[in-house]
């Protein structure tokens, strides 16, 4: 038997699971189809400039030494020192909702103060909600799904405040249209408003470099440009994988971060309609993807009055979180500037714009129209964002270049069908897919954000490989 564990995908969860197993002397191989690691949180270079894809910020920020919280737990399990991450905190972020402006920082009281100013009758309910949040330990693998929109009504009466709370939490993690699971809402509310935003100096590369370095140091093997064509299953048990090249690799177990439906497809094949139908029904089709435009400026955004790290905006009283009928939906969106985090190393200004997008539309466009449509949509998005945040009107005169990516780009580089950034709406918390010695990790296992992705790999490695040996 060549390997103890094969891991499909060198994203956050795959690398974290790999580190856990390799540091206890398991022979681990991580297989990545792409030439770069990172998966949904990766990076690229264009015209000599570094770009990050994926999440805008590392949520779950806590100061060094904070006990019992996700970031500290993840780093400890991976034996990565807090200082190595070189985290720079946000100055502040904003929610701009139909004319209202609520700021927040990594000090939760700032946000509570803003809510108290805008919605004086609601602040007690919001505080009660936070007080009644389940402890971290309870928000774990077995929780049943329930609607955050329904649960929020127990604490908040103003429909507008419910929309305001749904905006950042949905956009930063929900795979469900127009809602999210109540336990996921709690995790995200904590991650965004009670803990907060940070960015490693150097961006996502810094974290990925640490993970890859650590994985190799403990003896893990990483193979790039090695896509998995199928998972080999014998008598209901995973025994290895077949690569796109035809090479077969055998192992005691397989972890897949490819996504739920995508992994079922690796087991049963594209053509097995019976299994595919079953897979689609159980996994749920992912519907949410995003379009992003990144502007590079000849000055720092703060010089133009753009001083927030992340701004969530929405026009109108209702926040629509669903697959648009149009190529993108500019009614809502996110504006992010990495320059507005402490320790930012970038000498040029970067502003990222993100909005919901329709994957099917982008997938079917012929190439010339695809290129043209990207520019049209980027302009629409800038116009809508500028309406919410007038300071953005100045960036046109300072723009050095602009890059865009679409659901098609995301699908191409991550393998997630439909460019589904947050995966399937149906999560598989225990990682089990009905095949022995196969486990699902990553976004469809249901943990959120970069820290969540790390914990997904860690938790499944602990439960399905390390603890088994301890029994």
């Amino acid at each position: 038997m060549a390997y103890d564990t094969l891991i499909i995908g060198a994203g956050m969860s795959g690398l974290a699971a790999g580190i856990r197993l390799a540091q206890f002397d398991r022979r681990v191989l991580v297989l990545e189809r792409h030439s770069l690691w990172g998966g949904l949180n990766s990076f690229y270079k264009l015209k000599g400039r570094p770009f990050d894809s994926g999440l805008h910020a590392l949520t779950n920020f806590v100061p060094k030494g904070t006990a019992g919280v996700p970031l500290t737990r993840a780093l400890r399990q991976l034996r990565i020192g807090y200082d190595e991450l070189k985290l720079g905190q946000q100055g502040h972020s904003e929610i701009r909702f139909d004319g209202r402006l609520l700021k927040f920082t990594n000090q939760p009281e700032v946000f509570f103060g803003e809510v108290a100013r805008e919605f004086p009758e609601e602040i007690d309910g919001l505080r009660r909600m936070v007080h009644e949040f389940a402890p971290y330990d309870a928000v774990s693998i077995e929780n049943a799904d329930s609607s955050a929109r329904e649960q929020l009504q127990r604490y908040v009466r103003a429909p507008e405040l419910i929309e305001i709370l749904m905006l950042p939490t949905c956009i930063y993690g929900s795979a469900r249209e127009d809602d999210l699971d109540w336990d996921q809402f709690q995790i995200l509310f904590r991650a965004l408003f009670l803990e907060g935003f940070s960015r490693p100096e150097g961006g996502v590369r810094t974290l990925l470099d640490l993970l890859v370095k650590r994985f190799r140091k403990v003896g893990g093997e990483l193979r790039m440009n090695s896509g998995v064509q199928s998972i080999l299953v014998r008598k209901g048990t995973a025994i290895g994988v077949r690569l796109d090249s035809g090479e077969e690799l055998l192992a005691e177990r397989v972890f897949s971060s490819a996504g739920h439906a995508e992994t079922l497809r690796l087991i049963h094949g594209q053509d097995n309609s019976e299994h595919r139908a079953a897979g689609d029904a159980s996994a749920g089709a992912a519907r949410l993807s995003f379009f992003e435009a990144i502007s590079v400026l000849d000055t720092l955004p703060a010089n133009l009055g753009i001083d927030s790290a992340v701004t969530f905006f929405n026009h109108g009283q209702e926040f629509r979180y669903r697959r648009p009928k149009t190529p993108i939906d500019v009614q809502s969106g996110v504006i992010c500037s990495p320059n507005n985090f402490e320790r930012c190393e970038l000498s040029e200004g970067f502003v990222r714009f993100t909005a919901l997008a329709n994957h099917a539309h982008w997938r079917n466009l012929p190439e010339p129209e695809y290129v043209a449509q990207k520019q049209i949509c980027a302009d629409q998005m800038l116009a809508s964002a500028t309406a919410a945040m007038p300071a953005l009107g100045a960036i046109g005169a300072h723009s050095l270049m602009r890059d865009t990516f679409t659901p098609r780009t995301i699908e191409h580089y991550t393998g997630h069908v439909g460019g589904a950034v947050y995966g399937s709406p149906v999560k598989c918390r225990d990682g089990r897919l009905g095949v022995e010695r196969l486990a699902l990790i990553g976004t469809d296992q249901g943990m959120l954000g970069i820290v969540g992705a790390l914990l997904s790999g860690i938790t499944i490695a602990n439960q399905q490989a390390l603890m088994e040996a301890a029994r």
Binding site: K64, R76, R79, I458, M467, A470, R471
Partner: protein
């Protein structure tokens, strides 16, 4: 390994798992969890390191025996008596 060396071995493992904790004044008979920040994931790591460094298997039902340093000595000393202490801190 003497009983004192078992304590050193355990502290050395904890120092690797939780590098920010002060282990200099740990009491023998107070639960480790009450003295320093250790969760169930960390206890799994103590067990995994014992297995890796000394080839000692601690079944899940016996994890409670490791709740205090004194308990660790009582449970582990018979298993480690014929083994020599070495450091968990590696390159």
């Amino acid at each position: 390994m003497t009983q004192d060396e078992v304590v050193t071995a355990i502290k050395d493992i904890i120092a690797q798992i939780a590098p920010d904790e002060d282990l200099s004044s740990l009491e023998m008979d107070v639960r480790l969890r009450e003295q320093i920040e250790l969760d169930s994931m960390d206890f799994l790591d103590i067990v995994m390191e014992l297995r890796k460094l000394y080839g000692v298997q601690v079944p899940e039902k016996d994890y409670m025996e490791l709740a205090t340093l004194g308990g660790c000595v009582k449970y582990l000393h018979p298993l480690l008596e014929k083994k020599s202490l070495h450091c968990a801190q590696r390159a």
